[in-house]
């Protein structure tokens, strides 16, 4: 029996998670009371800020507790910050949209808090079982959120599809963890690495099967081809603010775990390098080529998110400090400009009878010249044009790949970037050079949306021109781990 009294109980380690859960509980309690019901969003924001504060405190003080189940290091802190900012921006862009679509329910805020907490657990552990636990805490609220507009058929479809695919992926992941446990006798990554060279011939088979299954499980979550088939339908059907959350938060969480398991944990396993090479090429190419023919912007961005997962896989293939830090930097950059793009889409959809079709953008330039330029900025960032952060992110990934000798992979990546220019610039073409047949309904701006646009523009341009700070930030984070 484990002697509980000797385990290190350090609540400071999990204070960020505790504050988020506390906020979610308060929301659930006050949500349906008459007087306090309108403070749900405020409570969630407060919880996120408190959580952010506790996360910041942990920066630079790595620690471990709860019998090694929770490990706090700078790598985890960086990812926790990404998740918290994602949650914050999601709540801000959702405000107007939710009340318009009559979805402004307390559960939304509670689910965002729970899901973010799950991501934080994922990023902050070196134990496979705790990672799985975090993944489930993250995923179950996501399934509910995908089907949040329950009177909407597309949203229902999205929820069910995501649930079935997600459950399937979880089963793979769990089986993989069981195999690795069978081969090495532990689920703690650090101990698995230490015992790697002692594995017998017999247990090698189980070890490799386990690795493959873990890769499949997380591959589903981050939308790696050939496990991507759910992405377009789920992204298109879910309410747009939730799609924005999907495309950034869980993806970053999935990559946090992939980086931890495969770049640090199993970096010695030789077969992984060609595997990631193939996955990166297939993911980029399929994502970009399928995005070319989309007529719905949300669906286009879904395929584009697959393509971006492919770019991050290049960094994973390259490995080492450069590879991992470029992946972290790209995730931060992607979070910024993707959220910016989704903010504009939400404004477009919030008009009376608004949809997310490309044709909806016709004649945007004449009515909203500033907004058009903002949208263009985000599209340029997604395509990877200088001086945006999209360019710096891609540049950093490709240079990491070149440094490690992946010349063909870099070439294919650059070619894919060229393909992606077509569909990103098509958004600009439609909004600037095509005229609407009917009168263009103006969009409304709320302070929350303005704030999100301000933050994302600042990040996209600011980090594009002065990337040094965040680059250093993502690098120091990794030295602490290695």
């Amino acid at each position: 029996m484990i002697d509980i009294s000797t385990a290190v109980i350090d609540f400071g380690l999990i204070a960020p998670e505790i504050s988020l859960v506390a906020a979610a509980f308060i929301i659930l309690i006050i949500g349906y009371t008459k007087r306090l019901g309108k403070f749900c969003a405020l409570t969630a924001l407060l919880g996120i800020f408190v959580s952010f504060y506790y996360t910041l405190i942990q920066y630079g003080n790595p620690g471990s507790g709860f019998s090694g189940m929770v490990t706090s290091d700078d790598f985890g802190v960086v990812f926790r910050m990404i998740f918290l900012v994602t949650a914050l921006l999601t709540i801000l862009i959702a405000q107007n949209y939710l009340s318009l679509k009559r979805l402004n329910k307390p559960e939304f805020y509670a689910l965002i808090c729970f899901s973010t907490m799950g991501m934080m657990v994922m990023a902050n552990s070196t134990d496979l079982v705790v990672m799985f636990l975090g993944l489930e805490i993250m995923s179950v609220p996501l399934y509910v959120m995908a089907g949040f507009a329950r009177r909407n058929l597309a949203s229902n479809e999205s929820g069910i599809k995501y649930f079935i695919m997600g459950a399937f992926a979880s089963a793979f992941l769990l089986m993989g963890i069981a195999f690795i446990f069978g081969a090495s006798g532990t689920t703690d990554l650090k101990r698995i690495i230490a015992d790697l060279s002692y594995l017998s011939e017999f247990s090698h088979f189980y070890f490799y099967s386990g690795i493959a299954m873990i890769l499949i499980g997380f591959g589903f979550k981050v939308g790696v081809v050939p496990f991507h088939s759910w992405v377009p339908d789920v992204y298109q059907g879910a309410p747009t603010p939730i799609t924005a959350f999907f495309s950034v938060g869980p993806k970053a969480a999935g990559f946090a775990v992939l980086l931890r398991v495969f770049s640090f944990g199993f970096a010695e396993v030789e077969i992984l390098e060609p595997t990631f090479w193939v996955l990166a090429v297939v993911t980029m190419t399929v994502g970009n080529v399928l995005a070319l023919r989309q007529n719905n912007i949300k669906r286009m961005l879904a395929y584009s998110s697959i393509a971006h997962a492919g770019y991050i896989l290049i960094a994973l293939t390259a490995g080492g400090i450069e590879g991992v830090s470029s992946a972290v930097f790209y995730l931060i950059a992607y979070a910024l400009f993707n959220f910016g793009a989704f903010t504009v889409i939400i404004m477009m959809e919030s008009r009376s009878g608004g949809t997310t079709e490309f044709s909806e953008l016709k004649g945007l330039l004449k009515v909203h010249p500033y907004l058009t330029s903002i949208l263009a900025l985000f599209m340029f960032a997604l395509a990877g044009f200088p001086p945006t952060v999209g360019f710096i992110g891609k540049f950093y990934i490709f240079s990491a790949a070149l440094k490690n000798g992946f010349i063909w992979l870099t070439l294919i990546g650059v070619m894919n970037s060229f393909i992606s220019v077509y569909y990103y610039l098509r958004v600009i073409k439609v909004s600037c050079f095509e005229d609407s047949d009917s009168e263009f309904a103006p969009m409304s701006m709320t302070p929350a949306l303005m704030f999100v646009l301000f933050i994302t523009i600042l990040g996209t341009l600011g980090l594009g021109i002065f990337p040094d700070q965040i680059l250093e930030f993502s690098k120091t984070a990794l030295f602490a781990f290695l």
Partner: protein, 118 residues
Amino acid sequence: MFEVFFPILFLFVLAVVIALIMSGLSVFIGKRTKLGKKDEPYECGVEPVGNTKEPVPVKFYMVAILFILFDIEVIFLFPWAVISDRLGMFGFIEMVVFVVILLVGYFYILKRGALEWD
């Protein structure tokens, strides 16, 4: 041997007796209807014959799911109760936290109206 496993035997007997008492009581004092819905194979709000694309009332499932949730709470309480003297104050506080978490959920479903049948 017998002394060690006697509590388990006692539990079995107790379970059988309680079940017998419960079903026996309903035989003797319960109201009995022989016709109508009682004869249907599945009487929980779903019509057994008809169009399959009709909306299905989910009230029953709702109660069933909530029941399972709170049932599991009790399952976690059992092992704690068995060694609660060895876990001491720390174990007690942990269990209180666990129960409070579930209580929040209970309060939420009450407020949300998930337990109202009509």
